[in-house]
């Protein structure tokens, strides 16, 4: 695809379940090689938006373009072909419990490539090494910790060398150190492979560590209330709520004042 | 290790399952594919109610095959039945072709000696089977016996006889029909009418008095003859003759009177009616005679049936006793 297209473009998107509109009037673009964060309070529809972007649910209206091709209006087979160029890491890793870690990672390869067993085993080893799970290939997902499951899920998402990587709440349920390790992994992936990354999160530490650009979603207005780099938004946003949401130091100050720390 | 156990279980499951499947199929019927069979056909002129495809065919109670086809032959309004027989029951095992050839040769001989087939009840359910047996008298041999069907080569003909039930019920209904043809009521009415007429005539007071007068006349006559004997002389003879003449005159008058009376009573007509009644009676007696002989036959049949039943009472429920198959 030609360079003038943004990697991902969302146009006038309206999403929701049944009669209920969750988010509306969504417009944004994600450039190639960017780490793009979707932020917002709990229950504002971040994960729902992610599921619409990766094509799991059809939007109520509007369009989503991947390298200039519409995901919304594509046929099932075309959409599946596009989706194969996405790598998605779910909150809990979403590993298949009946398979070993190595088999989980190998699944997209056995399904969509004609590679031999040996070649696949080689790729699996390489991807597992990338996410620091060397030697865990023969474990079952139930034998791994939460962080390891997420990393294994990432390895699986990377198996087909995706153009676009999605993370759904990568820090959720992890201690700060493990979480920071995962952030470093995301950065190194972008630097090594020039991947485009879209992260759904509400962890400020992560956002400031990795994000090139952030959009903030608001539950009340049901749309985007801020768009820019995290620093820009913290310092220059006209929206009081956005600034206080992003102000880590302010948060600490407030907590201290209330006697919480 | 886990996978090994799983494979083992699946292996056992599938292997035993398939073996059982084959065994069940074999025992329930596929084994019949490997058994030599010959086909025979026959016609029944009676209803085959209770006979179906699959009904068994027995030779004196030994199950030797089954009915394979039941169709109606429209030209003759008979039921056309094809049976499949396993010749292995009739002799030692030998090659297929030889077995059936030997069987057919034997069959022809047996038919000449009186082998026939007929339907029998297989118990109280109304189901029937075909029984092969020798029935006396053999009767004339149908010319087709033992030969192949003109359109179905290899299907040989075996003559059928009417079933016992058909015989029994035929005889019964025949004699009942004949009995019903006797006009008992008319005869009785006629008889009653004649008799009442007779009693009417006899009880008529005029007849009684006429008889009384005849009596009187006879007494008179007796008196007269004795008088004649006593007074038989010339002197008296003329007087006697006179008196006789007078008596004769009285007698004539009496006769006239009697004939007038009887004329009044239409005696000739009554007699004619009586004669007619008697003639009727005689005719019906002939009819009655033949009916009664038929009835007698029926009773004979029933007696035979009860004899059979008394030797084997359970057969009315279970059907004709089957012979145990020697294996």
């Amino acid at each position: 695809m030609s360079e003038e297209h943004a990697k991902l473009e969302v146009k006038d998107l309206v999403i929701g379940y049944g009669d209920r509109v969750v988010l509306q009037n969504l417009n944004f673009q994600v450039a190639a090689g960017e780490i793009f964060c979707i932020m917002g309070g709990s229950g504002c529809g971040k994960s729902t938006l992610l599921k619409h972007i990766i094509g799991l649910y059809p939007p109520k209206s509007g369009d989503i373009l991947f390298s200039g091709r519409s995901i919304v209006h594509a046929s099932t087979e075309e959409r599946q072909a596009i989706m194969r160029r996405f790598g998605v890491t779910y909150q809990g890793g979403a590993l298949f419990g009946s398979m070993t870690v190595a088999e989980n990672v190998a699944l997209p390869l056995t399904e969509y490539t004609d590679k031999s067993k040996e070649e696949i085993a080689e790729i699996v080893r390489e991807k597992l090494k990338l996410v620091d799970l060397d030697g865990f290939g023969q474990y079952m997902p139930s034998e791994l910790s939460g962080g390891m499951c997420k990393r294994a899920g990432l390895a699986r998402a990377l198996a087909l060398n995706p153009d676009l990587l999605f993370f759904d709440e990568p820090s959720a349920g992890l201690d700060p150190i493990t979480s920071a390790g995962l952030d470093r992994l995301i950065l190194s992936l972008r630097d090594q492979f020039n991947a485009t990354v879209i992260v759904v999160t509400h962890e400020l530490d992560s956002v400031f560590a990795i994000a090139d650009r952030v959009i903030m979603l608001d539950k009340n207005t049901k749309t985007i209330v801020a768009d820019g780099s995290p620093e820009e938004l913290l310092n220059n946003s006209e929206n009081e709520w956005v600034r206080s949401f992003l102000d880590r130091d302010g948060l600490k100050r407030r907590k201290k004042k209330d006697g919480l720390i | 290790m886990n996978e090994r156990q799983q494979n083992l279980r699946i292996g056992i499951f599938v292997t035993i399952g398939l073996l059982l499947l084959v065994a069940v199929l074999f025992y329930l019927g596929l084994s019949e594919l490997f058994v030599t069979k010959v086909k025979l056909y026959t016609y029944f002129s009676e209803s085959v109610q209770g006979l179906t495809v699959g009904s068994s065919v027995k030779y004196r109670g030994v199950p030797v095959g089954s009915v394979s086809q039941l169709t109606i032959s429209m030209e003759s309004q008979k039921v056309f039945v094809i049976m499949e027989i396993e010749p292995r029951y009739f002799g030692k095992s030998m090659g297929r072709d030889r077995q059936s050839a030997v069987f057919f040769r034997q069959l022809k001989k047996e038919i000449e000696q009186g082998l026939r087939c007929r339907m029998e009840f297989a118990g109280i359910t109304g189901m029937k089977f075909i029984d092969f047996d020798y029935f006396s008298p053999p009767g004339p041999l149908p010319e087709k016996a033992g030969t192949a069907h003109p359109e179905l080569p290899g299907v040989r003909y075996i003559p059928s006889v009417q079933s016992t039930i058909k015989d029994l019920s035929g005889a019964l209904s025949g004699s009942l029909e004949r009995l019903s043809r006797i006009r008992f009521e008319e005869i009785a009415n006629e008889l009653e009418r004649s008799l009442s007429r007779l009693s009417e005539i006899l009880s008529d007071p005029a007849i009684r008095s006429a008889i009384g007068r005849i009596n009187d006349a006879a007494e008179n006559l007796e008196v007269s003859t004795s008088t004649v004997a006593r007074v038989f002389d010339e002197r008296r003879l003329t007087r006697l003759l006179d008196s006789l003449e007078k008596d004769m005159e009285v007698f004539r008058l009496l006769g006239e009177q009697l004939s007038a009376y009887t004329k009044d009573m239409k005696l000739p007509e009554s007699a004619a009616a009586f004669r007619a009644a008697l003639r009727n009676l005689i005719e019906s007696k002939e009819d009655l005679g033949s009916s009664l002989s038929k009835f007698n036959q029926t009773l004979e049949s029933i007696r035979m049936l009860t004899d059979y039943l008394s030797t084997d009472p359970s057969s009315i429920i279970k059907g004709k006793r089957e012979m145990p198959v020697e294996k």
Partner: protein
């Protein structure tokens, strides 16, 4: 007021519509993926063996036990009635035909419902909770084909085979009861092979092919429809069992009716 009534009617028809439409949609989705079975690695053999083990091999003890008891119970009931008219030999007919035509296939279907339909629903429901279904979809793999076909094929193999086991043990059960009412084994056996024919047996076992499809689809459908929480998975498993039993009994009635048209 009026608007409220209108919307309630609307909801009602939507509800009825979706309860009819959703299963049809599900069947359509599954059927659409049928050609994918013939692709390279279209069918996951390991899953197939897993379910063949779960629904087939591991079901043998319970199937044989239940069918054995069923045959014995039928035999006892038949013997009690037949003895009154001295026709004990018909115990063989009653047990043979009931087991081959109805009880074998039905008991296998009921056991498979308990084992398979609930397991399928719970498994797919749990995968939904863990976002594994979403993961499959984002990998461009149709969950319908990927999850349903191995189960379906395993059930199609396992259920007729289980029916063979069930039929045989059911007749053995009847045979033992026959001994107690003075039907010798040899006579029971001879009568059994005389009255029963392979067509009856195959038609009975053939029913389970239909049952296998219904049970698998009902189980998977309830799993996919389950709401994404632990309670939802439980409810999904329950409704899978209820729906399966309902469908199996209705299908059995319809098939029995159809068989009666061809004289069986």
């Amino acid at each position: 007021m009026n608007g409220n009534t209108d919307s309630r009617i609307h909801d009602f028809f939507n509800g009825v519509g979706s309860s009819v439409l959703d299963p049809v949609l599900f069947i359509g989705t599954v059927s659409r993926q049928f050609p994918s079975l013939f692709r390279k690695r279209g069918l996951r053999k390991r899953e197939l063996f897993y379910y063949l083990d779960l629904c087939g091999a591991k079901s043998i003890p319970v199937v044989t036990l239940i069918c054995f008891l069923m045959g014995a119970v039928l035999g006892i009931q038949a013997a009690l009635q037949m003895r009154k008219v001295g026709t004990e030999i018909f115990v063989v007919d009653l047990v043979g035909f009931s087991v081959l035509k109805e009880f074998g296939p039905l008991m296998v279907a009921m056991i498979s419902t308990g084992r398979a339909a609930s397991a399928f629903a719970a498994e797919i429901g749990t995968m939904k909770v863990n976002e594994e279904i979403s993961a499959l979809e984002t990998m461009g793999i149709s969950p319908a084909a990927y999850l349903v076909y191995p189960k379906l094929l395993a059930m199609l193999i396992a259920m007729p085979l289980l029916t063979v086991f069930g039929d045989v043990t059911g007749i053995v059960g009847g045979m033992l009861v026959g001994l107690s009412v003075n039907i010798p084994l040899q006579a029971y056996w001879t009568r059994t092979v005389t009255i029963l024919d392979p067509i009856t047996f195959l038609l009975g076992a053939g029913k389970t092919v239909v049952f296998a499809v219904l049970i698998t689809l009902a189980g998977c459908y309830c799993g996919f429809k389950a709401s994404s929480d632990a309670q939802g998975v439980g409810r999904g498993a329950t409704s899978a069992v209820v729906l399966s039993i309902f469908l199996v009994v209705v299908a059995d009635a319809v098939i029995t009716l159809l068989y009666s048209f061809i004289g069986y």
